[in-house]
Subunit: 336 residues, 2 copies
């Protein structure tokens, strides 16, 4: 019932993205040279955990870029430091998951995020020892850093975290496809947590300037083409039996729920986490199709709001907990 691939045969689902637009996108954007290495590392991780029933989450995090020139000096970027993804990764690991963390290069990483991208430089946390021969962590920071370091090393030694990075939207899409195809045999055990801010538009290679665009002409006009809706392909082809959570970030409150419902109607996946740019750290709303109406011509949607509780720090903690419960329920339904 939850298998989204069946949705494409019903009335409510829209036609998935045509395979041809996706094929032509990949034909226009060659495979990144590091992809084979990534595939080996993913397969190696899956082999390592093959005998455990541990759930796996592919988290995407950070923004993707769209180069404006072949030899890139300028690019269009999407706002995202990667906070949502990096924070969530720690909570998924705490909940027993194996995390594949597909992130924008130099965006926030799980664990080290506590000490990077802050107004403090990490060297501010350290001082030379009195004899000048050693380095110590400043007393007031030590207890927390020790905790973070211990959790980080445990995640590493138990191989619960695989870090893979991308920069451009086409690198991201190649990585997503390759990961999904390797994860497909694990079906319902896999969750996709698509927190990356993915570009909607790109400049086709043949229309791109080879060298740095010169600024002599006084103004610059760019015409960009829409990136194929890969979420549709993920749901309907690459990951048909996995649990898929996408994110919808808007700035206009009026647009948020309609856009989230539209995404579910269009792609037929399990959850949209809707959030507003300016309150995204205090409130998220989980929108899902109501199971009984899921494939009717008039589907209804459930809405579950999570607010940051007083005294807690990270809304990702209750968000991940809720999704883990839903993923468990869904796995038992899928396997029954």
């Amino acid at each position: 019932m939850h298998n989204a691939s069946t949705a494409s045969t019903t009335e409510a689902a829209t036609v998935p993205e045509t395979t041809s637009s996706v094929d032509s996108y990949f034909a226009d954007h060659p495979t990144p040279p590091f992809l084979d290495n990534y595939k080996d590392r993913i397969q190696d991780l899956l082999d390592f955990h093959a005998s455990s029933p541990r759930p796996i989450v592919l988290i995407t995090s950070g923004g993707t870029t769209v180069p404006l020139e072949t030899q890139t000096v300028r690019f269009i970027d999407n706002f995202s430091a990667g906070t949502r993804g990096a924070t969530s990764a720690e909570h998924f690991i705490a909940q027993g998951y194996v995390v594949i963390f597909l992130h924008r290069r130099f965006s926030l990483l799980p664990y080290s995020r506590h000490y990077s991208h802050s107004t403090h430089c990490f060297l501010d946390f350290m001082r030379p020892s009195e004899d000048g021969k050693n380095i110590q962590v400043v007393d007031e920071y030590r207890p927390e850093m020790l905790q973070v370091l211990t959790r980080y090393r445990e995640a590493q030694s138990k191989r619960r975290l695989l870090l893979l990075d991308f920069v451009t939207v086409s690198e991201y899409l190649h990585c997503l496809r390759a990961s999904a195809l390797l994860l497909a045999p694990l079906g319902p055990r896999v969750m996709y947590y698509l927190a990356a801010a993915v570009s909607d538009f790109f400049i086709p290679t043949k229309e791109m300037a080879q060298h740095k665009i010169q600024s002599g002409d006084g103004s610059l006009s760019l015409t960009m083409t829409q990136v194929p809706k890969f979420l549709s392909i993920l749901v309907h082809s690459w990951a048909t039996s996995s649990y898929i959570v996408s994110f919808k970030l808007e700035t206009d409150p009026k647009m948020l729920l309609p856009k989230a419902q539209q995404a579910l109607a269009r792609y037929g996946h399990q959850v949209v986490v809707a959030n507003l740019l300016h309150t995204r750290k205090e409130r998220v709303v989980l929108i899902s199709p109501v199971a009984s109406t899921e494939y009717t011509s008039n589907p209804q949607y459930s809405s579950h709001t999570i607010d940051l509780a007083p005294g807690t720090e990270e809304i990702e903690e209750p968000l991940v907990e809720e999704l883990v419960h839903r993923h468990e329920d869904w796995q038992s339904t899928s396997s029954s």
Copy 2:
């Protein structure tokens, strides 16, 4: 003779950017709320060093962004991790300078750059002590980290480094103007080392979408306006008696020297550091007007190539040394 403000009265210099285009740019882009705080911190630094003859360098570093929406989700960015600026800052401090480091938020910083933006997360350098109560730096990294930490703490305690950050091109320009006006009384003692990758185009506020641009229409057209040439205003109005070094990054080797010479002819400043995107860590070329021809109708340019010497790590070391010598010569000429 080196005072660039005289150049505007001679034949070779182009007309500086009209004040009106700059005024209208600033009118369209309001003062960032943090600017007063930055001004206080700069003034405080200058007061602290008022009694010393120490030279001061304003380094700009990292890329600037151009928002595509008022409530920004998407923006155009310029490729720059901030390596040139962050590395150079350390060498300027080693040469006795006070450094004001005006950088893109989350770009590389002096000293901490050795441990950030790498494939290693900084936690990989640390481990819990055997009793689990403390944190130690892994043996193999300790000697270098101790050295970096010591130099960092010395720069801090002697107040030789002020970190100020920006994100958008308009924040950058407001900061540059405010800094220049505070530094102006120090005249020749000040060097500008303009390594930031500054956007050439922007979208005027009134043409900007208020909310996130929706992707439903299939394609996106952007028309952008050229950012006024602030280097001209810096040279001719804000910092008329300081030593100004700009950078020219190109991808096409044929364009590089002509563009560098064009910049000198146009703005009348002291040095352009020309570099190619793909060899920028191995070679830089310093282009300067030949003094005797500087203000003739047919100026000539000297070219000084610096290659990374075998066995050395950072081309910024000889680059900064060369500029420090030139700045010294220039200060003695200016004061004579």
